[in-house]
């Protein structure tokens, strides 16, 4: 049974629809990354999944049970925990903060201290236990908030931009703790991120949002441009490159090139692809049987290829490659 099952979800702020999702199913133990630019609806979706707000329309089911009534939302909140982008720590010590959720969940006596301790240990925060929560660095606050959320043993943990305020080491400690937790028990993790590398490295699923709607393309290879207009076949400047696109539009627009539309080759291709750019591989992210290869061709282009072709081509960071894509593969919106 799915942890979350979303149907016909819509959320409005005033007259503006900020989120519209027909369906979304998140399986137990999943690691789903929500990606998209600021204002794409990631945080709204997380708040709805955390049952902190009631959606304007649609139903979210938790473990197969639709959660609609106020009382049902209250009960569901005991099973889903959200860690905000800039988490708030209550006055008091780090241990007090971790104990808060435990006490709210009815844990009493020495069990509170014990479980708070265990949660802090899992995030390697044992040294901070008695520290004033107001005197921590941003990375520490982030990890304490994750420990506080994990202490209540939720079925789902929601993280809003967990990597934005933490330093690299803190991030790794956090992802390691989440991996351990998932090895221990089925924990569903949904996190919003604009740092794609991390999202791909750790997640096993991806939902790209654009203006509150699922986006057919991932937010990589998204470029703001000014279309010259005039003809249906036009050439538009993106950084130092000139990209051929097919669009009758003119003026400001967003170009999107899906990572699987980009072909990488060692030599320039003689093909129907009108856009061929030479660049150098700057980053690699392995993701199951496929690789995401970031090529710096004046602008950064991300291509998705299978791990097998990656090996067969002998690609590596620093290697020079050609990135090719057809002009019809460039979506304009």
């Amino acid at each position: 049974m799915a942890t979350f099952e979303v149907t016909g979800l819509r959320h409005d702020y005033g007259a503006r629809t900020v989120l519209a999702l027909d369906t979304l199913t998140i399986a137990p133990g999943a690691r789903l990354a929500l990606v998209g630019p600021n204002g794409s609806g990631k945080s709204t979706l997380l708040r709805l999944l955390a049952f902190l707000e009631a959606p304007s329309a649609g139903v979210i089911a938790l473990d197969g049970r639709p959660v609609a009534a106020r009382s049902a939302r209250r009960a569901a909140r005991r099973r889903v925990t959200l860690v905000e982008q800039r988490p708030y720590l209550f006055r008091g010590t780090v241990a007090d903060n971790v104990a808060f959720g435990l006490r709210a969940g009815g844990v009493r006596g020495p069990a509170v201290t014990q479980r708070a301790r265990a949660a802090l240990d899992r995030l390697q925060l044992q040294g901070l236990r008695d520290r004033d929560a107001r005197q921590l660095s941003e990375g520490e606050i982030q990890r304490v908030a994750v420990a506080r959320a994990l202490a209540v043993e939720p079925v789902a943990l929601l993280l809003d931009e967990p990597a934005s305020s933490a330093d690299r080491a803190a991030q790794q400690a956090m992802f390691a703790a989440l991996t351990d937790e998932q090895a221990r028990r089925p924990l569903t993790v949904v996190f919003a991120s604009h740092l794609l590398e991390d999202a791909y490295r750790w997640a096993d699923g991806l939902l790209a949002l654009h203006q509150g709607r699922p986006s057919p393309v991932t937010p990589e290879n998204l470029f703001r441009v000014d279309l010259p207009g005039g003809t249906a076949m036009q050439q538009v400047a993106v950084g130092p490159l000139r990209i051929d696109v097919v669009s009758g539009r003119s003026g400001p627009a967003t170009l999107a090139i899906a990572p699987d539309e980009i072909v990488l080759s060692a030599e320039p291709l003689r093909s129907s692809a009108r856009n061929v750019f030479r660049g150098r591989i700057v980053r690699l992210a392995e993701h199951g049987a496929e690789m995401r290869v970031t090529v710096d061709a004046g602008i950064e282009l991300v291509a998705r290829i299978t791990s097998r072709s990656f090996e067969e081509m002998g690609l590596a960071v620093g290697r020079e490659v050609y990135a090719s894509f057809k002009s019809v593969a460039v979506k304009v919106f």
């Binding site: 708040r47 955390a50 902190l52 209250r74 909140r77 005991r78 889903v80 925990t81 959200l82 905000e84 800039r86 988490p87 708030y88 209550f90 006055r91 008091g92 808060f100 959720g101 006490r103 709210a104 969940g105 004033d132 506080r148 959320a149 209540v152």
Partner: protein
């Protein structure tokens, strides 16, 4: 609601005293309670005077609390009461200020206490009404002495509240 509350903040205390006098007077609607010219009547009047200040300032204090406090408490599984408590804890300095100000208004109040209490010796004479009387009788030294007691009282309560706040803030 808030407008009503804010108007109540500026109510002259003698007017409040007058209204309560009217209510508690023998032929008034609550005359049967026999409360007029008792210390209980003063308590009623002072509570009515303090309530708008305490309420308005507490409301402002709670509204100023970071909205993340409420969301954080809720997402950690807290119910309505525990969430309210968490918010109040974060607002405790401002809430204490509300208490101090309301207490100050009551402590220094003379008009209502005089009207509904009647300034009866050993019965309903408060420090402030005693000062009024002593002054009108030309007994300045007594008035000043009582004034000093009043000041000391105000100071003590403020210090106590400060101390209480300081504790548990580590």
């Amino acid at each position: 609601m808030l407008l009503l509350l804010n108007t109540a903040l500026a109510f002259p205390t003698v007017v409040i005293g007058l209204v309560i006098y009217g209510l508690l007077a023998r032929h008034g609607p609550l005359g049967g309670l026999g409360l007029l010219f008792t210390w209980q009547a003063i308590v009623v009047a002072e509570v009515i005077l303090a309530l708008p200040i305490a309420t308005a300032l507490s409301a402002a204090a709670v509204q100023a609390v970071d909205p993340r406090v409420r969301r954080t408490a809720l997402t950690l599984g807290a119910g309505t009461l525990r969430t309210a408590w968490a918010v109040a804890r974060e607002a405790r300095f401002a809430l204490a200020a509300a208490v101090v100000l309301a207490f100050g208004r009551v402590l220094s109040e003379v008009g209502a206490a005089l009207i509904v209490g009647g300034n009866i010796r050993h019965e309903t004479r408060t420090l402030t009404t005693a000062i009024t009387l002593a002054t009108s009788q030309g007994n300045f030294s007594l008035a000043i002495a009582l004034g000093l007691v009043l000041l000391a009282l105000a100071l003590t309560v403020n210090v106590l509240i400060q101390l209480l706040q300081g504790r548990g803030d580590v």
